[in-house]
Amino acid sequence: MEFVRLHDLVAYVRPARGKTNLTPHWAGTRLPISESLAEAVRATLERARDPANVHPADGPELPAVAALVRAQAALSHIPAGDEVLVEILDSREGSHIFIFPFEGRLVHGGLAALAALRLGRMRKTTFTITANDYGFELLAEHGYPFGELYNQSLFDLDNLAADAEASVNLSELAKLQFREVARVSGLVFQSYPGSPKSARQVSASSSLIFEVFEQFDPGNLLLQQARREVLERQFERSRLARTMARLLQVQHVITRPDRPTPLGFPLMADRFSATLSHESLAERIDKMQRSWEEPSP
């Protein structure tokens, strides 16, 4: 079967001719891994550091990913259970920092927004944020000094409540969440069964309504609901605080791989992301115009 295109939530396929290197796969649902599973993943990775520990008798999974584990070890590092891996990398896109706490996608979304907020206070920029179950990525323009600015104290518990709220307001997380709020409240009509309206249409109209509210009715209850849902889910206070407490204790291993690693690559490829900006629209336009003039390094 060959994938042709996705339109209005319908995947069009046809019988494939010849062989292809592209293998479609189901990347899982949006249900993040639990705390105990997260701990098991960290323990398994630690065990995989030594190839002698990888026995087919323990199950097919580790032998299957042995090549990726080797590549990860060669390019960067495999974190032990009491370590957090941090990768800093330059690519054609800009400067990246990857942080891998292995705590599940939702907590990573919150951590990423918080880290972006606190980094941006030290040096103003616009971040593109991506998170998955293993970790999160912040992307900024070329030359952003992640190496200089990165510090364990980014995860300080002081002012957590206020900073969490500030990062929800600065980021587009609330706008993404508003899609659901708008649909449930009937502001945006999805469709009758069988006559699908594309997900893009729904998010386009809900983001317009979100912007109208933000500008003209900032106290709107539905807007507050979207912000509260982000705070409850991604900044799930107790789990986020536990994760941050762990990040403050463990050793942070910073590597500078010269290309994306097996752990980092899925984050770079996943462009389902939000931005968090300390800059005004005019500043972002200026920076963008300069990037068009410079040949990319």
Partner: protein, 183 residues
Amino acid sequence: MFGAVGIGIPGHVLDETLGRLARCVRDLGAARVIVTGDLVHAKPGLTPAILERVAAWRRELDAEFWLTPGNHDRDTNGFAQAWGLRVCPEAIQEGPFRFTHKPDAGHAGLFTWCGHLHPVVRLESPSDVLRLPCFHITDRLGILPAFSLFTGGSRTEVSPGDSVWAIGPERVFKTPARSPVRR
């Protein structure tokens, strides 16, 4: 539109749009305003209160208003008179220019300005993405952005030789826009 079905989209949006248009007319000392359609999005949204609000705003302005109706306001009976609009079912011609609602094949020797599409441009640097309303200019056609905020819009097919001017907070600037990539 939203107002008519009882959903609380703030009425400030209309005030903001009308205020901005009035400022443009006064600052430029315009004698005539040509509206290239879609002045009214949907007739059920025209409550008596809104009709009167726009009519009152209109009475304060000396300029003439001409409208080439679009697909959303083909039936202008409900508001054209109250708002002092001159409705021009055909394209309006003026000097080297023509004004229509939808982009069309054009007219020999005239440059056509049109609405309907509400073009937006997606601007990218390697680490950032913005979406802004824009003017899309071809050799014979100029597609105007929507005047009111929050109208959405779509990316238009950009051919080599076209120019696309994005609207930022303080200025209009030329962009290296290309057509949306079909995936």
